[in-house]
Symmetry: C2
DNA sequence: CTATCATTGTGAATGATTTCACAAGGTGTC
DNA sequence: GACACCTTGTGAAATCATTCACAATGATAG
């Protein structure tokens, strides 16, 4: 039986805006993103309701953790029944800011950039790559997916002109900080960094790092420390 | 003035093996990996000593955090002076298990795999990709870097034969769990997963995930929640 | 309509991580 | 050799995150 039709479910939830004052931990946000993916899978299989326990099992966490995470933003479930899949899906999309599209630029047209631009999940989640930059004259002017690679020198004006919000940095480590300074100056306020370097960003700019060497070294540590 | 020559520094440290009993948090290990990179940079510039404060500044953390992280494994510094760069470097390499090479296999010869195999930092850190697998008959047999792409069906025997320790999973989400089950059965006990899916591994197998969509959604959340 | 069952939402308890703060140890100067 | 100065290593305190446990709520069956 469907929960969407029950009047209580929507009326009860707290306004999301009010909840934003509290500080939400990065790990909680990561889990929400994961719940979202799991809910989309459940939804596409036609599942209508899900309990915190089932969601926790699929996410590899505990039912209490799921409920706590969701309670940071409101009350979305029904006691005795669980959560309406499609409704919770929509709530999390709203919480994460995914009910709109985001304007993204890619700086660095190398192998990592190439992997990103062909990654379907990106577009389907609302992240639209609207510009690609590189310094290499052999690459500039070439078509890359739906984009033509632009010269690095045009970066400032294009980012500002297209009002790009998120920059993906996929350049060599020694060039990364310079790129960051320039994209921030052009109004970008969120950065996903693939370069193996610690970047400095001004307050108000969000930064996430993806560092494969750090992950591999974490695995090496785990293997080393369990050895006997 | 160099610290290496002073007798106290080495004699004083606790044996690493003994310290391993305590549980080390994942975030502490991440920071160690970062310190290592920063120390290598300092070392290559000829810097001989570094204080916890300077290392913390470069790593974007606090001096107390640096000292606490290091104290989990021993006493490597000299009061009043700081740490000998090349010595601390070596200690961290030992802690993380990087004084040896690791046998790595790559499963999935797509764009992400391509980015990995050409990534120099990998090899220089001791991670040697010794086999590459794919299911696509058009790819099997092609040369990829120093490796020839092998057919997926050979995976089990090759992994076991080469005693591969770490597998990098770069296949589509719906194929990932099957691959994991097979690599684990072939003796692999650490996995770096790029597929956007939650994998299940038996106890004793280490797993790290790199999930670009999760990172991007984290940025979307940050942008959304700071908006007014 | 009452009893039973399932599952949420949430304070309180526990556990983990980070920060504080300072004694201890070591350098350099006069 | 005494004094002034730095910086580590580390208990204790503070903060942050997770887990527990249960009252509250709603569904369902008879």
């Amino acid at each position: 039986m469907s929960l969407q039709s029950l009047p209580g479910a929507v009326a009860k939830k707290e306004p999301v805006a009010e909840m934003r004052s509290a500080k939400i931990s990065e790990s909680a946000v990561r889990r929400l993103s994961l719940y979202l993916r799991l809910l989309q899978e459940a939804d596409s299989l036609g599942q209508e309701t899900i309990s915190s326990e089932e969601l926790a099992d699929r996410a590899g966490t505990t039912a209490a953790q799921v409920r706590k995470d969701l309670s940071l933003f409101g009350s979305f479930g029904k006691r005795g029944l669980g959560y309406a899949v499609s409704e919770l899906l929509q709530e999390i999309r709203e919480i994460l800011g995914l009910n709109r599209s985001w304007r993204v630029a890619l700086v660095g047209a190398g192998k990592i950039g190439s992997a990103l631009i062909t990654y379907r999940n990106f577009r389907t989640r609302g992240f639209h790559i609207e510009a690609v930059f590189d310094t290499d004259p052999d690459k500039v002017g070439k078509r890359w997916g739906t984009q033509t690679i632009l010269d690095d020198t045009e970066m400032g004006s294009v980012l500002a002109g297209k009002r790009i919000e998120i920059a993906v940095i996929a350049v060599p480590a020694d060039a990364a900080q310079g790129v960051v300074d320039r994209v921030v100056a052009s109004g970008v306020s969120a950065i996903l960094n693939f370069a193996p370097v610690r970047l400095r960003v001004p307050k108000g700019v969000s930064l996430r790092n993806v560092d494969m060497v750090v992950e591999m070294e974490g695995l090496a540590f785990a293997l080393t420390s369990t050895e006997r």
